[in-house]
Subunit: 190 residues, 2 copies
């Protein structure tokens, strides 16, 4: 079965029962943001008035809604944020590929929004998500390197050597990145 | 008692017993970062080789180590990251004030690092922290608006009106921001 058919199958089977999810009826055009008019409105009010930075993006922290692990950190442009809100599936702006990035599109590892939060000055969002397994095999995960979370290494803090040796907190990969991504270019840049 | 004396008192009483904490002996000069030489080194290795963006900063997600709430999102420059690692207390780069920002310096709400993680391409860090109470009264918190977390409002996701009304997930403020910050300028910008 082709990758796109699998994605569609997944979407139909996993979300058809959800009362709050309807990818068919909701598009980004249905979500409107308020104009930012005062500090009080932005900090203390109920208007959704997100602030995009000079590059037109807003940072997003993605965490697992059950384990409370931080899974990844990425950016959304206006379209991605509106699509995330309207469809209930995480969309980002890929800075390396300079395009809209529906998480899971190529890997099968979709992120379903269980809760979205926005911060005091509305220039950052947190999404708490549930995950799906990669279509090419493995367990639920989020990181392109093959680990569950992008944050799979710990930095020793406090007294210590001038060079801090990172410690792995995930013992093994959740999936084989070659099987999932094939020869797609690695997004990591030096 | 003056604010600075209180801070010093807090520092001496709370951390003098900690084996991993010694503000006197550790300065940022004692921490060295590795040069970034390959994707493999950065993603799969044990070298700490953080990447600072075009503005010289790295994003930092701050969460509470016990409740697993995301408390805030901010940036660190090289000096702030090194000081955070060496002292075990969160330091940031204040973009609004354009200066090093030791969290808690003016409010008493310090953040002690319980664990620091870094992501796959080493361009984002997560710090898991414990908090202290504001010196002017109130319960432990992090947000300048007076809430515990900066993420005190939820965005409704899925089907719904085009304008989404934010829902408060914290019922009351943890401290009085006027008592803590006085007439200091509000960092929120429209």
């Amino acid at each position: 079965m082709a990758k796109n058919s699998l994605s569609n199958l997944w979407r139909l089977t996993n979300f058809s029962e959800s009362a709050t999810f309807s990818a068919m009826n909701n598009t980004q055009e249905t979500v409107e943001f308020a104009e930012r008019t005062s500090v009080e409105q932005v900090e203390e009010g109920k208007d959704l008035a997100p602030k995009f930075d000079a590059n037109g993006v807003i940072p997003c922290v993605t965490m697992h809604h059950e384990t409370r692990e931080v899974l990844m950190f990425a950016f959304m442009n206006e379209e991605a944020l509106k699509l995330t809100i309207s469809t209930g599936l995480a969309h980002y702006w890929s800075r390396s590929r300079k395009k809209l990035w529906k998480k899971g599109e190529s890997s099968g590892m979709f992120q379903k929004i269980e809760r979205m939060l926005i911060d005091d000055d509305q220039d950052c969002v947190v999404i708490e998500v549930s995950l799906t397994e990669p279509t090419a095999g493995g367990t639920e995960a989020s990181c392109h390197v093959g680990y569950r979370s992008c944050f799979y290494r710990q930095v020793p803090v406090g007294e210590g050597d001038s060079k801090r040796e990172l410690q792995f907190i995930e013992n093994e990969k959740a999936f084989d990145p070659k099987a999932v991504y094939g020869d797609a270019p690695n997004p990591t840049q030096l």
